[in-house]
């Protein structure tokens, strides 16, 4: 299943790049497909690209369902 994971933007870089946080895991992604992203925004991330901005409430709700479905287990394993 192809999933986009909500992540918080923790650093804005040059050339439409950013660092996002999935919990304690950080990853460098491209913002080329989304306009007007600010620090602390939540974005849906898929294959290295931010696809959309989402509200913090929607991000939290989606992450909770993903956690219940076991989707985030690998992420937790990495961050452990």
């Amino acid at each position: 299943m192809c999933l986009a994971i909500p992540a918080r933007v923790v650093e804005l870089l040059d050339d439409d790049m950013a660092v996002v946080a999935f919990g304690t895991v950080r990853k460098r992604i491209s913002l080329a497909l989304v306009a007007d992203v600010s620090l602390d925004d939540f974005v849906l991330v898929h294959v290295g690209y931010a696809l959309h901005k989402v509200s913090s409430e929607e991000a939290e709700r989606t992450l909770q369902m993903m956690a219940e479905a076991g989707v985030l287990e690998e992420l937790e394993e990495i961050s452990a």
């Binding site: 299943m1 192809c2 999933l3 986009a4 994971i5 050339d15 439409d16 999935f22 895991v25 990853k27 080329a32 497909l33 989304v34 306009a35 849906l44 991330v45 898929h46 294959v47 696809l51 959309h52 989402v54 929607e58 709700r61 989606t62 369902m65 993903m66 219940e68 479905a69 076991g70 989707v71 985030l72 690998e74 992420l75 990495i78």
Partner: protein, 377 residues
């Protein structure tokens, strides 16, 4: 790091030839236990957020299955409007894939400005057709499309002409020579993707019948293909790149994406016009609903996403979810013995760098939105 349901691919090579492709599909998501006991309406409302890469297609299949299982009649115009949203999402995925692949092959940054506009198409059409945003609530009815819907259709057409194709003759009706000539003119983003593929002699790479690759023993029935290739296989241009028994290489898959994308703006505009002819209150027949002895009901619905056919199966008891199962095309295409394994096992190139580029193009041609990792052995 695998955080988005990635496919793992190991290519076992002998010299410049792949002798076996070992494909591990993403771990399936056990949705049933998570949503069991929740009201159907609540679950339908979160499907699009959970599976947001093709959230509209997922939501469309979900709400249709839910409406059937709840025995709520679906308004004919609403069903058609949802289908148009799925088409807009499919177009977005195709434009995105073409733009990113072209940039990747050329080693250049993608045209973010035009791709950002493409990203907004489905949401813009959704807001135009369902101003309250509730397109995927069971029983909802769409209004009559207004100027904003028509403007979105025009935007879809403009973007497609910029990224894919603009011409008198439909792209799908070209023959191979005309297609190659069009690519050489490099007038669109897609032409700049096709030109190097053809120039490098890669049209047939990944064709399962071009070699006796290590996955040649796999059963044909394991190779189901519901991608846009299956949907566009009847177009003369796509047929021109297929072998006699329907086998496809890279060019056939890329051509299928271009042909489908080039047709979608017309289908969206035509569908919007047709919405006005649908009488108020007319309903489509429900999907078949099966009843269980304990009073439970289950229904199945489908949606054609960019990457292939999605199937949602809902089991309800007293209006609450008893079980929920999704069959995604990615899990079929990237099954251990699926079409991706068969195609990847047919790769051959004198340079390892070329094999890597071919593998990337082929994987993304089979599924425009899958995350994956390729390793060579």
């Amino acid at each position: 790091m695998s955080v988005d349901g990635r496919v793992s691919i190991d290519l076992v090579c002998d010299g410049g030839r792949v002798v076996e492709a070992i494909v591990m599909p993403p771990r399936p998501i056990a949705l049933g236990p998570v949503v069991r006991g929740r009201p159907a309406r609540e679950v339908v409302s979160v499907i699009g957020s959970l599976f947001s890469v093709c959230g509209i297609a997922q939501s469309a299949a979900s709400v249709e299955a839910a409406e059937a299982a709840l025995e709520i009649g679906t308004d004919r115009r609403t069903k058609q409007a949802r289908r148009l949203l799925v088409l807009a999402e499919t177009l977005r995925e195709h434009l995105l894939r073409i733009g990113l692949d072209t940039a990747s092959l050329a080693g250049e940054p993608a045209d973010g400005k035009i791709l950002r506009r493409a990203m907004g198409l489905p949401q813009r059409l959704k807001q135009a057709l369902f101003p309250g945003g509730d397109a995927f609530v069971p029983g909802v009815c769409v209004g009559m499309p207004g100027a904003e819907a028509a403007e979105t259709a025009a935007e879809a057409s403009y973007l497609t002409q910029s990224v894919v194709y603009e011409g008198e003759k439909p792209l799908g009706e070209m023959d191979r020579d005309a297609f190659a000539q069009w690519a050489l003119e490099r007038s669109t983003v897609a032409a700049r993707l096709i030109a190097p593929v053809l120039a490098r002699g890669w049209a047939m790479v990944g064709h399962p019948e071009t070699t006796d690759g290590g996955n040649g023993h796999l059963p044909k029935e394991a190779s189901a293909d519901t991608s846009c290739l299956a949907r566009q296989a009847g177009a003369p241009l796509v047929r021109a790149f297929l072998s006699e028994n329907g086998g496809a290489g890279l060019a056939a898959r890329l051509a299928a994406r271009l042909v489908e994308a080039s047709k979608l703006p017309g289908e969206i505009a035509g569908g919007l016009a047709a919405l006005r002819d649908v009488a108020d209150g007319s309903e489509v027949p429900m999907c078949e609903v099966f009843r269980e002895e304990n009073g439970g009901r289950f229904a199945t619905a489908f949606a054609e996403a960019a990457r292939g056919r999605l199937e949602h199966r809902i089991v309800l008891n007293d209006g609450r979810i008893a079980d929920y199962d999704i069959t995604a095309p990615t899990s079929i295409h990237f099954a251990k013995s699926g079409i991706a394994a068969r195609s990847l096992s047919a790769l051959a190139a004198s340079r390892r760098e070329d094999l890597a580029v071919q593998a990337d193009l082929l994987v993304r041609a089979i599924d425009p939105c899958v995350g994956y990792d390729v390793r060579f052995r």
